[in-house]
């Protein structure tokens, strides 16, 4: 039985982000809304996803920077909770995501008589990023190789293939799924299991562990079952 993707082997890549200050800042919730309307879409991407590659604990209290700032600097728990549940995976584009975040903030502004403010030295600074992608010189032709390589991949490589991929591929899929589809329907059960891995509510090291488990279980099951 053929076990090769007709198009290409899977090349493991890695990435590094360069964070750049946009010069835009917000002191209060209204300014956050105003800046959000104008800031480049890449900045939204950074504040929803880029935190994965920044100093933080594996279990951050909030999954995006807007929610964390609302909680820790504006001390507004309500807006923090509402922003925290905005899942960027639910939106087809960054513009749609921008619209949702702005809606959530405007709803909160309408509810309150006073605009929540941060201390003068706790402004929200909008950041954007540049990404450098480089080849690790590791590649596989057989999907079973995923089970061997994923556990040893860097967290930034996981970011590139599992998160960044959704932004650069036409169908918004992760790289592993895109590659496995090249084998026809052969890996549909595996693709379903990959789709169950939620990239937003997990740290990169957790994602690596989850993907390791998905590929490990699937291919060890295949071996025990004599191959599917």
């Amino acid at each position: 039985m053929k076990n090769h993707n007709d198009s290409r082997p899977f090349a493991f890549k890695d990435c590094a982000l360069a964070a750049i200050a946009t010069g835009r800042r917000a002191q209060n919730l209204r300014e956050l809304r105003d800046q959000l309307l104008q800031v480049e879409a890449g900045s939204l991407y950074y504040h929803f996803w880029g935190g994965r590659l920044r100093p933080q604990f594996d279990e951050p209290e909030y999954n995006n920077d807007f929610a964390a700032w609302a909680r820790h600097s504006l001390h507004d728990h309500v807006i923090a909770e509402r922003l925290a549940v905005v899942d960027p995976m639910d939106y087809d584009s960054l513009e749609d995501l921008r619209g949702e975040v702005v809606d959530v903030i405007e709803e909160r502004l309408a509810e309150q008589e006073f605009v929540p403010w941060a201390k003068s030295d706790e402004q929200f600074s909008f950041i954007r990023s540049q990404i450098i992608v480089f080849d690790t010189r590791k590649s596989i032709e057989d999907p079973t190789g995923l089970a061997h390589e994923i556990p040893h991949s860097s967290t930034s490589s996981i970011f590139y293939h599992f998160i960044d991929a959704r932004r650069r591929t036409p169908d918004g899929q992760d790289d592993f799924s895109t590659w496995l589809r090249g084998f026809g329907e052969r890996y549909e059960p595996l693709l379903a299991r990959i789709a169950d891995v939620d990239p937003y509510f997990a740290s990169l090291s957790e994602l690596r562990s989850q993907l390791t488990a998905v590929f490990g279980d699937y291919f060890s099951g295949m071996a025990q079952g004599g191959g599917k």
Binding site: A21, D121, I127, S154
Partner: protein
């Protein structure tokens, strides 16, 4: 001794070192020059002493140059430093003219090395005007700011800004510090070197030696602040905090250990204020250590139960990183880069007053299990985010981006 990249593998893992080699590939043979104002003392010199050899090992032709100035020059740049951190300071016109002239003289001396540079990193305000002496430069010039410039004294910032607008990019330790400039402003926190004398694992005999040398009782709790004797580090506030804690923890000892830097003329005055504040308390040790006493500082941090860094302004706070790396919770001032490192209830506590520092000191000394758990988390946090290898990776990333004229995405083959 120069450490090779492979020596870091044991600490950070193969992946991290492989990443560095891959990122450096397109930069091999490029001439990179770092310029700052002191080769000894202060965090910038410490970082460059490690970063430059590693860049060379990765195949970049890297040089480190230091500008020389007279006493008036350093007085002026110290005023810059204080003004950029928010102090209202009027700098005499004559000092500014001397500052510019010293830079012109240094530019002539450094001309051969800077003119050919593919990338020049100019660190902090002291050498910032060098750029204006190289109108025909062929490389990219980057101004690296290590100072907390979040609320600068505007006239001084306005003066310095005139020297900075021509740079191709600038680097800041935190987003809050970045100012309006007509070029990309990159955010790169600094780092510590886990293999340096100041951070390497020490045998117990080194720890015992500092107990004996400085008359510290190993059986009693010890809080230590390591930093220059500088008002922004609030050493007098640390002593106030110690006094408040000592009412409840009578056995408490305090070490304030500071080194001088060749570009800091104010240190002696602050040191005298600190001596006055001790009021002859034998449990407060004021240690004025030479700038190369790295191993002693390492041992003092390891001998401590808690590391303090009660700054009121701070660029990044490498002494915080050092303390965390040694598995010590840090009580730090709620300012600048300390916020990035001290995560309340995880790696330590952020405080705004001597009272706050005293409260957290008492809490930690009365909850040893929590103190130990926070120490373990603190070390892992630094391993992941604040070691030299991460810093080097971000410099390489920035250089690759600059060599590709700032596209949003660079794909290296």
């Amino acid at each position: 001794m120069m450490q090779t990249l492979n020596a870091y593998t044991e600490i950070v893992g193969h992946d991290v070192i492989d990443q560095l080699r891959q990122l450096a590939e397109p930069l091999k043979g490029r001439k990179v020059v770092h310029v700052n104002s002191t080769r000894m003392g202060g965090g910038v010199a410490e970082i460059l002493a490690k970063l430059v050899p590693l860049m060379n090992e990765l195949g970049l032709d890297t040089h480190w140059e230091v500008i020389n100035g007279n006493a008036e020059f350093y007085q002026c740049t110290k005023s810059f430093h204080n003004a950029l951190q928010g102090n209202t300071i009027a700098i005499p016109e004559s000092q500014l003219r001397n500052f510019e002239e010293v830079n012109r003289q240094n530019a002539e001396q450094l001309r051969p090395v800077l003119e050919d540079a593919d990338i020049a990193f100019i660190h902090d305000p002291q050498p910032a005007p060098l750029l204006s002496s190289f109108p025909e430069r062929r490389g990219k010039w980057i101004w690296r700011c290590h100072i907390d410039v979040s609320r600068p004294h505007r006239p001084v910032w306005k003066y310095l800004r005139g020297f900075l607008t021509g740079y191709d990019a600038s680097i800041w330790s935190l987003p809050d510090f970045a100012q309006t400039l007509p070029h990309p402003q990159y955010i790169i926190p600094p780092s510590i070197d886990p293999l340096s004398e100041k951070n390497i694992a020490l045998p117990d005999s080194d720890i015992t030696a500092v107990y004996e040398r400085f008359d510290i009782d190993p059986e009693r709790p010890l809080v230590t602040q390591v930093s220059r004797f500088d008002r922004f580090k609030d050493p007098v506030g640390v002593i106030e905090s110690y006094r408040l804690s000592k009412r409840f923890v009578p056995a408490l000892q305090l070490v304030l250990a500071g080194g001088g830097a060749t570009d800091d003329p104010e240190g002696e005055a602050v040191l005298n204020e600190v001596y006055d504040a001790t009021n002859g308390d034998p449990d407060i040790k004021i240690l004025l250590l030479p700038s190369d006493a790295h191993r002693t500082i390492n041992a003092l941090q390891r001998a401590s139960d808690i590391v303090m860094q009660k700054s009121t302004r701070e660029g990044f706070g490498l002494t915080v990183t050092e303390g965390l790396w040694k598995g010590k919770p840090v009580i730090g001032g709620n300012t600048g880069g300390i916020r990035l490192q001290v995560i309340n209830h995880h790696t330590g506590f952020l405080v705004s007053t001597p009272e706050g520092a005293a409260l957290r000191t008492r809490y930690l000394l009365n909850h040893r299990d929590i103190l130990d758990t926070m120490g373990i988390k603190a070390r892992e946090f630094v391993r992941e985010h604040f070691l030299l290898t991460r810093h080097l990776r971000e410099y390489l990333t920035l250089m690759v981006v600059l060599m590709n004229d700032h596209p949003e995405r660079v794909e290296l083959s």
